[in-house]
């Protein structure tokens, strides 16, 4: 079996902070205030998506209409990653490219759902009413626009990535598994190049409901990520955005003269039973495994803000005092499925630039060594799934 080095050669990012690698690097380095919207979904706060001209990556209006926002964000971001890797117009590289997408779903039709809720209050024949409303009111194509594996489907259609198409589900864990699987396949020679990532739309009440059923959202405005213990609600502020990576074997990248951001040296993941296993110890163990050779200069944390989970991660991070920590959800929100791809991308960018951006929460994050050649990225799921990536300079 082969043991290839796996490198990142393309990064696509959009979020509340902007579009593309440079905009994100600049936003984090300039220490700009986070962009938030605390009005639209009051009492919840979200980090709204930057204004996007969808035509840039999804030229056909017809294609745009076939997608709900999360699919559009993902398809757009995938295009950015392909473009960044210099693969976008290479038909044969796209046709042989593998794809693993971490996907949610949902984004139901608010107006139809509201009508049904109203009818249900006044009618006794709920089943009949449901059939009546759904058969007459639902847009036929909405199903596909919500369906989990159709983000990958749309990426195939719009960007012609057709080597393979796999969609992983399961909140933050799906982002961890997506990268883990793509890396493992390239390392072992099962694949030469892959597109991997995810997207999330925070600006939809159905997506908020998914969290709030378990009381996980922050209800009193924005606060720095590591300072949410005393806030009302569960601590999470979600953000809209997407993160996609182009991964290749080092040899494949070198042959085509691709620019390399960083190598993914390892993915360390777990899924403990949080009701009985200690989360802090688990996170510390994963970070410890990822630091076994040498402590990382920097840890980009994907902490969601979920109170107990974020506190557990913080306690683990504090034991790795030689590493700088940057919690990015304080800046652009929690992107759920896309959170791990996002932090891996930001860690790779830091390694590539050889430096860390300034603290996002200066009270809880320290400045550190001026040069960065190893970085970790963490995503500890709000409910389940734990993952750490190690990125190294090539």
């Amino acid at each position: 079996m082969q043991n290839n080095t796996v490198v990142i050669t393309g990064i696509g990012l959009i979020s509340s902070l902007g579009e593309g690698v440079d905009a994100h690097w600049k936003a984090f380095n300039d220490g700009l205030e986070p962009r938030i919207d605390s009005e639209t979904f009051k009492p919840y706060t979200v980090h709204p998506l930057v204004e996007v001209d969808w035509n840039n990556q999804i030229p056909k209006r017809g294609d745009q209409r076939q997608m709900e926002t999360w699919q559009r964000i993902g398809t757009y971001t995938a295009g950015l990653a392909l473009q960044d890797a210099g693969i976008k117009d290479d038909e044969s590289l796209c046709a042989s490219m593998d794809m693993v997408v971490a996907a949610g779903g949902g984004e139901r039709d608010v107006s139809v759902d509201t009508q049904i809720l109203a009818e249900a209050r006044v009618r006794n024949d709920i089943g009949t009413m449901l059939n009546e409303k759904l058969t007459t009111e639902l847009r036929p194509t909405l199903f596909l626009a919500q369906l989990s594996n159709l983000l990958a489907g749309n990426i195939s259609i719009v960007h012609k990535v057709t080597g393979s198409s796999r969609t992983f589900m399961g909140e933050e864990g799906s982002g961890i598994s997506a990268i883990d699987t793509a890396v493992a396949r390239i390392r072992s020679g099962q694949s030469t190049h892959a597109l991997v990532g995810g997207s999330y739309n925070s600006q939809h009440p159905d997506m908020l409901l998914g969290y709030e059923l378990n009381g996980m959202l922050k209800r009193d405005g924005w606060a720095p990520l590591w300072q949410r213990e005393d806030s009302a609600g569960g601590g999470i502020v979600t953000g809209s955005g997407g993160a996609f990576l182009v991964l290749e074997s080092a040899e494949h990248a070198q042959k085509r003269g691709a620019r390399v951001y960083a190598a993914i040296d390892g993915i360390y993941s777990a899924q403990i039973r949080r009701s009985r296993d200690d989360l802090t110890q688990t996170v510390a163990k994963l970070i410890g495994a990822a630091s076994a050779d040498k402590a990382a200069d920097l840890i980009i944390s994907g902490a969601s803000g979920a109170k107990h989970v974020t506190a557990a991660e913080k306690a683990a991070l504090d034991t790795f005092s030689s590493s700088m920590v940057r919690g990015v959800a304080g800046k652009l929100g929690h992107l759920r499925e896309a959170q791990f791809p996002l932090v891996v991308a930001l860690a790779a960018l830091s390694v590539f630039n050889g430096s860390a951006f300034p603290p996002v929460d200066a009270k809880n994050e320290k400045a550190g060594p001026s040069s960065v050649d190893t970085a970790l990225a963490t995503s500890i799921g709000g409910t389940r799934g734990e993952g750490v990536a190690r990125l190294v300079k090539v």
Binding site: M1, G173, G210, Q271
Partner: protein
């Protein structure tokens, strides 16, 4: 290539445990008896109201206590039953499997009954809508509802119950999902990550809304009377698929480790192939090239020639589009031989079990190899003259089958094929 490795020098993957639940029953024995006798599990739906619905039939699993408890609960139960059977057959401890879990599960959403229940909590506070549902949540966590709407929940419960290792993977490649779960397991064994894996495809998601969604895409058969005649793959008058439920589970191991522990080897998962389609969200590229590519990739991965395939367990959904395209793909790859090669569709009897289909049909493919019985394609009364295939019409056939191709094609350009062979010795 040694006794334990394939033509690429990779570990051969043995199948040592199989489990299945469908509308035909629970367990391999019940299912196989019904399937090989040409019994249909399709019936008129009783789970929800049928007023205003053009399609009133499905292959729902109605015999479990969980059958009326919602998509997440039923999908979990179906997966659990199939996995219990598979793990027990393989001879591993049912609570300490010791390898990774790959789960194909339907994308579930919060059920209407739960939305209504939330609304009932806050009815007096204002107009119905999402604002009020969110307000209801602020009164206190609804953990049970939350769990049913989390994509990662079913795998967490199964991982806990069966003692699988690591972060389980939940996946969806639409109607190819079950095959993808198996493919991911094969790849993990080939990488040496584990000497055993548990792959499951499950789907218990037939609800009014799910049915209406497929119905609005004109994908479903409206042949309501008689229900058992509705699924008629490769027939001239086929008019859509029939939604159905079930689960298939497979324990796979490196052949070397299976032999070492003296396991009973049921078959070899010899190869997997896939190719995405970039043509359209629900339709295939007219030249069939992605499906052709997936079939060829699976044969190449398996290291066997087309003429070594003895039987094809077809995707055969009974939609006008799928069956036509599948025939185009198969006749392109297999040439003239396609007219005499047995090709049958389990969906004629169990319906389209969607996320579970690839896994259930892989289980039936192995049973075909083991028993030498090819299940028929029932309801084949009006052959489509444009599809010249031996569909094993209406009645099972005894035949020596040592290799099977099982194909799965799904919305979103998903095409995945598996090649299974008899145990080499």
């Amino acid at each position: 290539m040694s006794k334990y490795t394939d033509h690429f020098g990779r570990p051969l993957v043995a199948i040592t445990g199989l489990g299945v639940v469908s509308s035909l029953g629970q367990g391999k024995e019940e299912n196989w008896a019904a399937l090989t006798s040409g019994t249909s599990g399709i019936h008129t739906i009783t789970r929800f109201a049928l007023d205003n619905l053009r399609t009133q039939i499905a292959g729902t699993v109605d015999f479990l206590e969980e059958s009326t408890k919602g998509a997440s609960t039923l999908s979990q139960k179906l997966a659990s039953l199939a996995a219990e059977e598979a793990v027990a057959q393989a001879g591993f401890p049912v609570d300490d499997f010791g390898g990774p879990l790959f789960l194909a599960a339907p994308p579930v959403e919060l059920e209407w009954r739960n939305r209504f229940a939330l609304d009932a909590l806050v009815k007096s506070e204002g107009e119905p809508g999402y604002d009020l549902l969110l307000a209801a949540c602020r009164r206190g966590p609804q953990v049970d509802m939350f769990n049913t709407a989390e994509f990662g929940y079913i795998a967490e419960v199964l991982a806990d119950k069966f003692g699988t290792r690591g972060l389980p993977i939940t996946l969806s490649t639409a109607c190819a999902s079950g095959a993808t779960a198996i493919q991911l397991g094969v790849e993990a064994i080939r990488r040496g990550e584990s000497d055993r894996v548990l792959s499951i495809g499950t789907d218990g998601s037939v609800s009014a809304e799910a049915l209406i969604r497929f119905s609005l895409l004109s994908a479903l058969s409206t042949h309501n009377e008689p229900a058992h005649k509705a699924a008629k793959p490769f027939s001239k008058d086929r008019d859509g698929f029939v939604m159905a439920e079930g689960s298939g589970a497979m324990v796979m191991e490196s052949l070397e480790s299976a032999v070492a522990r003296g396991a009973n080897i049921l078959g070899i998962m010899r190869g997997c192939g896939e190719k995405a389609d970039d043509f359209h969200r629900t339709r295939s590229k007219p030249d069939g090239s992605p499906a052709i590519g997936a079939v060829r990739a699976s044969l190449e991965d398996a290291g066997i020639e087309e003429d070594a395939i003895d039987y094809i367990n077809a995707h055969g959904t009974s939609t006008p589009e799928n069956d036509k395209m599948e025939y185009l793909a198969l006749s392109t790859v297999f040439g003239d031989r396609i007219s005499s090669l047995p090709v049958s569709s389990n969906k004629s009897m169990i319906g389209h079990t969607l996320t579970a289909a690839g896994a259930i049909e892989a289980v039936f493919s192995v049973l075909t190899i083991q028993t030498g019985t090819i299940p028929p394609t029932i309801n084949y009364d009006n052959p489509d003259p444009a599809i010249v295939m031996d569909v094993v019409p209406n009645v099972k056939r005894e035949a020596s089958v040592s290799s099977v191709l099982s194909s799965s094609f799904g919305f979103g350009g998903q095409n995945t094929c598996l090649v299974m062979t008899a145990e080499p010795n």
